[in-house]
């Protein structure tokens, strides 16, 4: 590894120290195929949340979306807008829904391949704001269906987010997330 001039990473002088501001809250690695993952009892002590993941479904065709639902709200209280590219063209879409989605968050079982994504949920505990999310995701299904997408999501609710339900679907059906799929929840202080 090249030498590291610590620069602004250096710890403060005597009596002080850098504050850990990005903390792992919970991480799930599936030991068996599972229909949903639910992060519950999320502490309200952070400013923002981030979820990082790698996901694959046992079946389901090619492009599989990863879905996120907050506080058990199954109503049509979410909006999504996205910009995505599939190697052929760049496209946009937007609609109301009953969850926030990552368009290329997962992939149907293809040897070694995994969908991946990062979701930032901003001001998740602020009870004066509807909740906004930014999601970057990508997946490859063999040499066929593939893509990269930037999604913006809105949950039209000012409640603090205390739980996040996650599942995968494609082709109008939900699919079990496969063994080895991993979702990690982080809290960011501010």
């Amino acid at each position: 590894m090249s030498p590291v001039p610590l620069g602004f990473w250096a710890v403060a002088g005597a009596g002080g120290g850098a504050t850990n501001s990005y903390e792992l809250i919970s991480s799930v690695i599936l030991g068996s195929d599972t229909s949903t993952i639910n992060f519950t009892s999320i502490p309200s002590t952070y400013k923002h949340l981030q979820i990082r993941w790698a996901c694959r479904t046992a079946s389901g065709g090619s492009t599989i979306e990863t879905q996120f639902q907050f506080n058990g709200d199954t109503g049509a209280n979410y909006n999504i807008h996205m910009l995505f590219g599939n190697g052929t063209g760049a496209y946009a879409d937007g609609y109301a829904a009953n969850s926030i989605s990552a368009k290329y968050g997962s992939v149907a079982a293809t040897a070694g391949a995994w969908g991946t994504g990062i979701m930032d949920l901003l001001d998740y505990s602020n009870t004066s704001k509807n909740k906004t999310a930014k999601i970057l995701s990508s997946s490859f299904y063999g040499t066929g269906d593939k893509g990269v997408a930037l999604n913006g999501g809105l949950w039209r609710n000012t409640a603090a987010v205390s739980s996040i339900l996650i599942w995968a679907n494609g082709g109008n059906a939900s699919w079990n997330m496969q063994t080895g799929s991993r979702f990690s929840l982080y809290g960011i202080k501010g």
Binding site: M1, V4, W53, G87, A113, T116, S138, S139
Partner: protein, 161 residues
Amino acid sequence: MATPTYTPLANITLSSAQSSVNFSSISQAYRDLIVVMNVSLTSGQWPYYRFNNDSSTIYNYVAAYTDGTSRGSNYSANDPAIFIDLNGQITATLETITINISDYSATDKHKSCLHRKNKSDGYVNMTGGRWASTAAITSVNLITTTSWAAGSTFALYGVVA
């Protein structure tokens, strides 16, 4: 109790131009890696990155991009590297690039990465990549056919999960 994470592993500022920058002997103690770059080149080119110095043709990537006027998407399969932006050169203008590498130490997964590139007078780009190898990543190689300019910065972070 929540676990502190997001650890700086290396931080490089080039005192002189060089054709490649390598993060090597990467600790396997993390779940994800993040590379953050603020860079320019000595002359316009299309830089790329590899893992473990692997130049075999097992990299796939798909990108979407716009310069505010035109937009598009491209895809490349079975390449010897992942290009940061096939559509827009990196030039002498500074731009920021962030590369997220997921499950880099997992030996049961091909390696997936997401990168974003932002250039104030050119293209913004998002790319998803896949290195079709289950080997743990021990080095990240950032390569150009010209040179990364003096003053370019490269930082590597490990994220625990």
